[in-house]
């Protein structure tokens, strides 16, 4: 597909979508959102680019293969569970640290892992499908 309108709009909309995805990821702890929906929206931004500029160009922008994104996400998610073992608690217990007013914990890391797995999986499937067309 070669459409000037889609290309121009995609240039602005895709970064916004990705930002919104990150917002969804961080807001998901207390409010609607989370790693899964964030990952879907993030992959939507790349898919928009793939429609506008073609698959090969998009893959250049993503730089690494979606398979690696899945693997890194999985490792993050497992790692977030393993951290609590190091603190002597059962697997997947939340471990929290407070930096002044900011509270960070392992559930956040887990959600980021989910985000990456969803992003990688969706991209892997849909980019392959677009190639087939």
């Amino acid at each position: 597909m070669n459409s000037l309108i889609l290309k121009t709009a995609g240039k602005y909309i895709a970064p916004l979508l990705f930002l919104f995805a990150i917002y969804l990821l961080f807001t998901g702890h207390n409010q609607p959102g989370g790693g899964f929906s964030g990952g879907l929206v993030a992959s939507a931004s790349f898919i928009l680019l793939a429609f506008a500029y073609g698959v090969e160009q998009t893959q250049k922008w993503i730089r690494i293969s979606p398979l690696y994104i899945i693997a890194i996400g999985l490792l993050l998610a497992v790692g977030s569970g393993v951290i609590s073992i190091l603190f002597g608690q059962p697997f997947m217990t939340g471990v929290w640290i407070t930096l002044e007013s900011l509270t960070l914990g392992t559930p956040m890391l887990f959600d980021t892992g989910v985000f990456l797995v969803v992003l990688g999986t969706t991209l892997l499937i849909i980019l392959e499908l677009i190639k087939e067309v």
């Binding site: 690696y68 693997a71 890194i72 999985l74 073992i85 608690q89 697997f91 217990t93």
Partner: protein
């Protein structure tokens, strides 16, 4: 020790992820694979040793207390299953070292196997009915992909049947979990075990347990629900179908034994009779199907069904000896049946076909292969001193003690028929004149070194399971005693 409980799940998951990271470099994948296998094996061994002393190990994921959070429990039965899983996966990797192409490794074969292993060990260690459902799904997702691995037409046909039947079974399982939750308000197995016996009315109990029996029965391949199994198990590459035949149906069987011993603390006559009838029919129909087939993998697939009948018979007898026989039989069957599938792959490599009537004279060509085949096949039929003999003898004696004469009679007849169909393979494949032209591309034994070492390991294991039968039977008897006294299990988990 308590921290280690989660390791049978984490190790395959980490290994699979690392294999994904390095999917372009098969060498690095191998390194991770062996490391994962080895550490899993060590953990399983530690647990077998520790649970044999009568200990239970459990943790609460995320530190949520027992009836509400997810419990992971390892008792003797679980650790037996974990150990045998690790041995089988190890052999399957050893086998695929020479039997699979580099292409398969690039497309993520090792990580898929490890995801499957994670699902299986999750199912073996969970103490929560809904979590069991989740592990089934994990296991099925990777098995769906493995089933269609390679993407030939025949494989896709087999996978469609496999996927649809398994989805139906998952739906029924989920429904029955929901009904149970609605009835007693818990899904923790230990808690369910207490509350299930408090329910006053008999019918809801019967409905739930029969739904569970149907759901697990589809996965295990029990009598009226087995038809997907021979239609799909012969289609994937032999390394994968060996793993499937060894692990997947046994997970269904494991779940039946685990849930039924927990839900019914004493013998329930209608349930016992139903199980006995199903067991007898499963044995008989499976072996009759096998006798009528001429394709080696189809014969073996039908035999899976008939062997599942023996395990169910052990549970249905509801005595220490019967369940010990069932546990022993599961282990024996995983070893013997997977080895036969492995061997069928090598036969195909040598002759280029699976149809037994177009093979022949393999005995002269490779005596080691023939001896390994004979060892596993006769063990499957139940000839002493191999492992099948010990298992069948225990089950038959237990059956006579429980006065289940008809099922015992069927099981003896089925043994003869099994012997008949194994002899059929032997005569056509290993004796006689070759009915195929030796192609230049057919592999020599040297190239198959690792595949041979895998089948030799399994054949030796079958023999030693039989020869040192007393030790292994002792372990399974201990786990049967534990299974028949669910109160200890409940106490350990709920920590009253």
């Amino acid at each position: 020790m308590k921290t280690l409980v989660i390791f049978p799940i984490i190790i395959p998951l980490l290994t699979a992820s690392f294999c994904l990271v390095s999917y372009k470099t098969p060498r690095l994948q191998w390194l991770f694979t062996w490391f994962g296998n080895l550490s899993y094996f060590i953990v399983a061994l530690i647990f077998l040793q520790a649970t044999y002393q009568g200990n239970y190990y459990s943790i609460q994921i995320g530190n949520w207390e027992a009836p509400f959070g997810i419990t992971i429990v390892i008792d003797l039965f679980s650790s037996i299953m974990l150990l045998i899983t690790s041995i089988l996966v190890f052999c399957s990797f050893l086998y695929s070292l020479t039997m699979s192409s580099k292409e398969e490794f690039r497309s993520g074969y090792p990580s898929l196997i490890f995801f499957l292993m994670m699902g299986v060990s999750g199912a073996f260690t969970t103490g929560d009915l809904f979590n069991l459902y989740v592990w089934f799904e994990v296991m099925l997702m990777s098995s769906f992909v493995l089933m269609a691995f390679g993407g030939e037409q025949q494989q896709l046909e087999g996978s469609i049947k496999y996927v649809i039947l398994n989805l139906i079974s998952s739906a029924i399982f989920l429904a029955s979990t929901g009904i149970l939750y609605g009835m007693v308000g818990t899904v923790n197995l230990a808690d369910l075990s207490i509350k299930f016996s408090i329910i006053e009315y008999n019918y809801p109990k019967l409905i739930v347990s029969s739904l569970l029996l149907i759901a697990f029965g589809i996965k295990a391949g029990l009598f009226p629900l087995y038809f997907w199994l021979p239609a799909s198990y012969h289609t994937p590459p032999p390394g994968i179908s060996a793993l499937f035949s060894g692990l997947l149906t046994k997970v269904g069987m494991y779940s039946i034994i685990r849930t039924f011993t927990l839900f019914y603390k004493e013998v329930d006559i209608p349930i016992q009779n139903t199980l006995l009838i199903i067991a007898g029919m499963t044995m008989l129909i499976g072996v009759l199907g096998a006798v009528s087939q001429n394709e080696i993998r189809r014969i073996l697939s039908f035999h899976i069904i008939s062997q599942i009948g023996y395990m169910l018979m052990g549970l249905a007898l509801w005595s220490v000896m019967g369940i010990a026989g069932a546990v022993y039989f599961i282990v024996h069957n995983i070893v013997a049946k997977s080895n036969l599938f492995f061997i069928s792959g090598i036969i195909n490599k040598k002759t280029g076909r699976y149809h037994i009537k177009s093979q022949g004279n393999l005995y002269q060509e490779s005596p080691i292969l023939s001896i390994c085949f004979l060892c596993s096949a006769l063990s499957l039929a139940g000839l002493p001193p191999l492992s099948g003999f010990v298992g069948k003898l225990t089950l038959i004696i237990a059956g006579i003690h429980s006065k289940a004469y008809i099922t015992v009679f069927i099981s003896i007849v089925v043994s003869f028929l099994t012997l008949f169909s194994m002899t059929k393979i032997w005569i056509y494949t290993f004796w006689g004149t070759p009915h195929y032209k030796k192609e230049a591309s057919s592999e020599s034994d040297k190239n198959l070194f690792f595949a041979y070492s895998a089948i030799i390991i399994l054949a030796l294991l079958t023999a030693s399971l039989g020869i040192f039968g007393e030790i292994f039977l002792n372990i399974s008897e201990k786990s049967a005693q534990e299974l028949l006294q669910p109160l200890t299990y409940i106490e350990k988990i709920m920590e009253y």
